[in-house]
């Protein structure tokens, strides 16, 4: 190994900052999955019959499906009977206000850097915090209420707005879409629901913070965001998980629906526990995210910064159904130590003059494996559809890998598809140049990597961009001496 590579290895010393466990009594169902468990979950949540039926249908489909293994990732078989499918902090009724929330819980959020109380007063960010499976606190409800905006936990939406949930749930990601989506549909416990009524621009960033706490629980959250005609919303999702030796499964489903002239911007900073240096522990992040530009002139934009998880398997996608609709995907994925990421997007052009942009930045360090997998499909009637894709990979050291699988299917002669891809090694020359100007190696790497990701970071809301840059620094700490 060259000196450079050895120095690169050094950086892997970064410890997981969010690896604390909150000691709260939890209401957890026994491990294992069966119809009874699903009935129990549904009953605990006092769900209507149609939702229970929907779950059971998903379960029966899931039983017939097999786990997909086409991703460029290697891991031992998952025992789905060894997972507990429901865990809720033990309180009798849902809290009415922050004062009723367990102080330990609030302290956890403080450690995560999201003091709800402060946020409520100062930040102007409405937070729907998901702790394990149940949403514990929702802020800013009043102000949003006045505008007719619904922003609440999924369970609450099921009780309060069943007609909306029933209309849109599964309309973008059907229950039999894939193995993990089917599993989620059967056992999902909570998540967030957003509805922006006609002509309303949501005046603040809506934010959810997901965190997996209990031992041996999978987190199966479900997010559904609907922007009615001419509505717009920007939604932020951040995720962390405590350190555990075993692998925890996270199989979420996110569905976005944009009607005529509506816009949805969905930003994720994912920092689940990645496992230790030898690859022990860490989250399996198998997520289905999909948006439907159902209306004309609608727009859905995904931005993701993926620094955590042992394995990431996700492809936030856009179905561009309305004419002139726009889909965007901006992604930074970092794999260090033994992390594996297989991520990308699908842009399905159905309507006329639909446009899509894909910018993907993969960074591999240690023995990390980073795969971009994307599909651009232009259907027969999508006259004048255009796509631009750019996939850049950066390698640090000589034991990591970058892989690119861009799939293109064009069934319309007027379609235009551009694809650019680069792979670079973080240059000894670049680091030396910075050193020669007085900048130490670690700061140099941070600067170079952040420069590499700039096109994605500038799509993030300001506070998130700052957090993302810090996270990138933490994730790559020790990769360069």
């Amino acid at each position: 190994m060259s000196t450079d590579s050895r120095e690169l290895e050094k950086l892997t010393g970064g410890d997981y900052k969010y690896g604390f466990v909150t000691d709260i009594e939890a209401d957890t169902v026994p491990k294992g999955l069966s119809e009874d468990v699903i009935r129990m979950i549904s009953a605990k949540k006092r769900e209507p019959q149609w939702l229970l039926d929907w779950r059971l249908k998903a379960y029966s489909r899931w039983l017939k499906m097999t786990e997909p293994h086409w991703a460029f990732a290697h891991y031992p078989p998952i025992d789905y009977q060894d997972i507990s499918y429901y865990s809720a902090p033990k309180t009798t009724d849902g809290p009415k206000s922050l004062d009723e929330v367990d102080p330990e819980l609030l302290a956890t959020y403080e450690k995560l850097g999201i003091p709800l109380k402060e946020q409520e007063l100062l930040a102007g960010v409405a937070v729907d915090a998901v702790f394990d499976s149940v949403s514990v606190a929702t802020t800013f409800k009043g102000k949003l209420n006045d505008l007719g905006i619904i922003f609440c936990s999924f369970s609450e939406a099921v009780q309060e707005h069943p007609e909306l949930v029933r209309k849109y749930l599964g309309s973008v990601v059907p229950i039999n879409d894939n193995f993990y989506a089917a599993l989620n549909s059967a056992v999902f416990t909570d998540g967030s629901f957003v509805f922006i009524p006609k002509g309303v621009r949501c005046p603040m960033e809506l934010s959810t913070y997901f965190r997996i706490n209990s031992l041996g629980t999978g987190q199966f959250e479900r997010t559904l965001i609907v922007a009615d005609e001419r509505a717009s919303v920007s939604y932020l999702e951040g995720c962390t998980a405590p350190m555990r030796d075993e692998n925890q499964l996270h199989a979420a489903v996110v569905e976005l629906i944009a009607l005529d002239d509506a816009q949805i911007k969905y930003s994720t900073v994912q920092n689940w526990y990645p496992g230790d240096k030898e690859g022990k522990g860490g989250i399996y992040n198998f997520v289905t995210k999909r948006g439907k530009c159902a209306g004309v002139n609608s727009k859905i934009s995904w931005t993701q910064v993926e620094t955590g998880s042992a394995i990431t398997w996700k492809y936030p996608s856009c179905i561009l159904q309305g004419d002139n609709s726009v889909g965007e995907f901006y992604s930074v994925a970092v794999t260090n130590n033994r992390q594996q990421a297989d991520t990308g997007t699908k842009m399905i052009h159905i309507g006329k003059n639909t446009r899509s942009t894909i910018v993907s930045k993969g960074i591999s360090a240690g023995q990390g494996q980073n795969t971009y997998r994307g599909l651009v499909k232009i259907m027969k009637n999508a006259d004048g559809a255009r796509n631009y894709s750019q996939c850049d990979s950066m390698l640090m050291g000589d034991r990591c890998g970058a892989h690119t699988f861009p799939y293109i299917e064009n069934d319309n002669d007027t379609g235009q598809i551009e694809h650019e891809a680069t792979t670079s090694r973080i240059g000894e020359d670049q680091i030396f140049y910075c050193n020669q100007r007085g900048i130490n190696a670690e700061d140099a790497v941070n600067m170079i990597v952040n420069g590499f990701c700039k096109e994605v970071f500038r799509e993030l809301p300001m506070e998130f961009a700052v957090e993302a840059q810090k996270l990138l620094g933490i994730s790559l700490e020790g990769s360069v001496g």
Partner: protein
């Protein structure tokens, strides 16, 4: 300020520097000339701390301290600056950001207050006049998409902002047209004073019409074959390096 004693260095097993001796005092400009492959850039690289080069013998004292023991960033913080022959591109990182990070890293090392954005900008804008650069260039990524001349001017701008004690200019004249050459040389001259020193590495005499050296050293096959004043540069220009090669008598091998 700088004392190089019997410096030997090799690259991938090949000995390039075979016993360099050189003394540089404050206020002096030294030109190092020599044919291709004589070891000019190796010497510059060793002084800056590039780890491609392995020092096998000799020592380098910089202000009385062992330069070779310092990491490259420490050397920079101690005031050693190298203008690169091939400045490196850093996509996505703006010139302003890079320069400010560099300046503040050095100031922090020296226990000085870090510049805020306002102070920094006024400093940079002032220094930019030296190299006749348009302010718009501050927002462009470091050397990314720059022409050869712009890259070299950018090196001199960095030198002006970081205000080094010892500057090493590695073939800064290569690839420059006459206007760019003049701008770069003017910048170097304006920055020169009695406290600092420069080592100008060049293949051609041309640059020395603009930057007048106090001493000229001819490097041949890893050793300084001849030293003199600026007249030596003219002699070289007229008679070529073959003449200088003849000056060089290889020392008998030690047994």
């Amino acid at each position: 300020m700088l004392e190089i004693r019997n410096l030997h260095a090799r690259v991938e097993g090949n000995e390039i520097l075979k016993g360099i001796n050189l003394r540089v005092n404050p206020g002096e400009i030294h030109a190092i000339m020599g044919p291709n492959g004589s070891g000019k850039s190796t010497l510059a690289g060793v002084l800056a701390g590039k780890d491609l080069y392995e020092v096998t013998e000799g020592e380098v004292l910089y202000r009385g301290r062992n330069l070779l023991e310092m990491d490259p960033d420490v050397r920079a913080c101690e005031g050693v600056f190298m203008a690169f022959q091939y400045p490196v591109e850093i996509p996505g990182v703006s010139n302003t950001y890079f320069l400010k990070a560099a300046l503040n890293a050095i100031r922090k090392y020296r226990g000085e207050n870090e510049y805020d954005a306002v102070d920094f900008l006024s400093l940079v804008k002032d220094k930019m006049k030296l190299v006749e650069m348009d302010p718009s260039f501050l927002n462009r990524p470091v050397n990314d998409g720059f022409s050869g001349g712009e890259k070299k001017r950018n090196e001199i701008l960095q030198m002006a902002v970081l205000d080094p004690v010892l500057s090493i200019l590695d073939e800064t004249d290569s690839g420059l047209d006459i206007d760019a050459l003049r701008i770069v040389a003017n910048g170097v001259n304006a920055l020169h004073n009695e406290e600092n020193a420069a080592i100008v590495v060049t293949h051609y005499q041309r640059l020395l019409n603009y930057i007048i050296p106090d001493f000229v050293h001819v490097l041949v096959d890893g050793r300084i074959a001849k030293s003199g004043d600026k007249e030596l540069a003219f002699q070289l220009e007229e008679q070529g390096y073959d003449w200088a090669k003849d000056l060089h008598q290889p020392a008998p091998e030690a047994v």
